[in-house]
């Protein structure tokens, strides 16, 4: 039971973390919220499910990430770049894109929920008395790998330094010769492919439907706010807290209220820590 709860919590947390880290990256660079991130999860899951019979499951995740990288370029061009400095319009534009993506997916893949079966779903390993399918371990392992890769990218690489420079101060960064538009585009590409990975990884554990992804996105928002906006480490911590709380409360309190409990916790946290657990540095100019 205990192992089961931990594993379930980690699966939820890793999905939320992948989505949330992408959102945080985009927010950090452009100060804009990508409302189509949930639909990127959905597109990623469907692309992976379509590609898996031909290339196998693990390469299919890569295919999904590449397709979503292209989608990221389109998203940045249509929903972000035209709305610099107009946050609210950008927000609604990404909502418009999410409507377009949902209906595009329904046109391509139909409206019926479908299972996404992989061979890994049927193999299981036992920890003491509980059997856990390899698929679930793959979800956790791959997410951890991707998050570590992102951490390396942001903290150690030259591209990461440019990311941090633009999110610190876009104006000064661009006078230093950093192409802010390229960084913005890259951030959406990375965010969108991480969402694809989240969809492709969690797809086999759940069902696929064109309206999936919304719950992941809402919970990712909660994780971001809990961790403090624009902060990758805090976001991962927030995702871990939200995932674990949902997993524990689904067993001990009520499954039907598991989202409410996570968001209730969020509201209580915001009452005492109005800027999240790891506050973002924010200067207010008069």
């Amino acid at each position: 039971m205990f192992v089961q709860i931990i594993i379930n919590g980690l699966i939820l947390a890793s999905t939320y973390a992948l989505v949330a880290v992408g959102l945080t990256l985009i927010f950090g660079v452009m100060r804009m919220v990508n409302f189509a991130e949930g639909q990127s999860v959905m597109i990623g899951a469907f692309v992976a499910a379509t590609a898996a019979p031909y290339v196998g499951y693990i390469p299919a995740i890569g295919v999904a990430m590449m397709v979503n990288a292209l989608l990221g370029v389109v998203l940045e061009r249509t929903a972000f770049r035209p709305f610099r400095g107009m946050e609210l319009n950008g927000l609604i534009a990404s909502m418009g894109m999410s409507i377009i993506l949902i209906n595009l997916a329904e046109l391509i893949w139909g409206t019926d929920p479908r299972p996404f079966d992989t061979a890994l779903n049927n193999i299981s390993v036992t920890f003491g008395t509980v059997g856990v399918s390899v698929q679930r371990l793959v979800v956790i392992g791959c997410s951890l790998g991707l998050l570590l890769a992102l951490w390396w990218l942001v903290q150690r690489s030259s591209l990461g330094r440019q990311f941090r420079a633009v999110s610190e101060d876009a104006e000064v960064a661009s006078t230093m010769g950093i192409d802010a538009n390229r960084i913005a585009r890259t951030s959406v590409v990375i965010g969108s492919s991480l969402a694809a990975a989240a969809g492709a990884l969690s797809g086999p554990v759940n069902m696929l439907a064109p309206d999936m992804g919304q719950a992941e996105m809402l919970n990712a928002f909660a994780a971001i706010i809990l961790g403090g906006f624009g902060n990758v480490n805090g976001t991962i911590l927030g995702a871990l807290v939200i995932g674990m709380v949902q997993s524990v409360s689904a067993v001990y309190i009520s499954n039907a209220y598991s989202n409410s409990i996570a968001f209730g916790l969020l509201i209580v946290t915001l009452i005492f820590f109005p800027r999240g657990l790891v506050p973002e540095r924010l200067d207010e100019n008069v």
């Binding site: 409302f35 609210l88 319009n89 909502m95 209220y257 968001f263 109005p274 924010l282 100019n285």
Partner: protein, 329 residues
């Protein structure tokens, strides 16, 4: 345009709207009636987001609270004025309770905090089966029988009245100036003696009241409620309508809610598939690209400049960063 000219224009529009039942069929009349109801929740976003600059992702929670309070009480056999009163009081109270913590939050923290309220509200409507009947839906709500035309005219008067009232409040009252001072520069407003916390709380209560009114009217008109009508996706849709209409303009909100409610049905000629919703999404993008001020901004440009009570919009610090010289569009 002069004040008299403006009033003539308004009356002509009202007369045209009033003539609508004689022109369009019952299906479209029903559509327009619903659009008029939803215009009230768009006004509630105008008050909170457009005038006061507070982003809310939880409006559907207030609408749901109003609608279900009215519905549950009327099924229990309470007199109708009591149902209406309670259906307005509960959302307003919730607005106050949410506003107390939320008015201290900034930007996206506020948005997600209100989203939390929306998620909680939707899940409670779904799970409190013994009160709300949950996913089975609330059937058999008693309300006044006005007939289709009657409802249309009542709602037209309410919605048009609310729009005119909000416009007047925004442009010609001190309250409007205070609300907008909080939006444009909170610190300067505070240093000029505006009680920003109180103003925000008032905006929350007023907004929740309007959203609750929308809920009550929705329940009384439709007489059937399901929790699906009040999920966070609906909050996002309301926000979308408000922004397409121009967040700070009640007139734009009114036009946008009529337009965007009717649009998916108008596009039915394109076929029954998802293609029409695809087109709908693309149209929203087009409005945002080419008319950044929304329909309200367009209307103002056409009929000339508004009364000069609003301060010129200063750039916020974030906007200044993003609009950096090196960052081209």
């Amino acid at each position: 345009m002069s004040s008299a000219g403006l009033w003539t224009l308004r009356l002509v529009c009202l007369a045209l709207m009033a003539a609508l039942p004689f022109v369009i069929g019952p299906f479209w009349l029903q559509m327009m009636t619903q659009a008029l109801i939803y215009s009230l929740v768009v006004f509630s976003i105008n008050v909170l987001t457009g005038f006061c600059g507070l982003l809310s992702f939880g409006q559907a929670g207030f609408v749901g609270a109003g609608a279900y309070t009215f519905g549950v009480l009327s099924i229990a056999g309470a007199p109708i004025f009591l149902c209406v009163l309670a259906g307005l009081a509960l959302p307003t109270l919730l607005g106050l309770l949410l506003g107390l913590p939320a008015a201290r939050l900034k930007g996206h923290y506020l948005a997600i905090g209100t989203l939390g309220f929306g998620v909680l509200g939707a899940q409670m409507l779904n799970n409190m089966v013994d009160v709300t009947r949950g996913p089975m839906g609330l059937l058999g709500i008693h309300s006044v029988d006005l007939g289709q035309n009657g409802w249309y005219y009542v709602l037209l008067v309410i919605s048009f009245g609310a729009m005119t009232g909000l416009n007047a409040m925004e442009r010609h009252s001190f309250l409007g100036v205070m609300l907008k001072s909080v939006k444009y520069d909170e610190i300067s407003a505070e240093s000029c003696g505006v009680a920003t916390f109180g103003v925000k709380l008032l905006a929350f209560c007023g907004s929740a009241f309007l959203a609750g009114l929308c809920g009550v009217l929705l329940a009384a008109y439709m007489r059937f409620l399901t929790p699906d009508l009040f999920v966070p996706t609906e909050s996002f849709r309301y926000l979308m309508i408000a922004v397409v209409g121009g967040a700070g303009s009640a007139t734009g909100g009114f036009i946008a809610s009529l337009f965007l409610t009717a649009m998916p049905e108008l596009l039915r000629s394109l076929g029954e598939t998802n293609f029409r919703l695809l087109v709908y999404g693309i149209m929203v993008l087009f409005v945002l690209w080419f008319v950044p001020g929304g329909i309200g901004g367009l209307v103002e440009r056409v009929i000339g400049h508004r009364a000069g009570t609003a301060p010129a919009r200063p750039q916020t610090d974030n906007a200044a960063h993003i609009a950096a010289p090196g960052v081209s569009r």
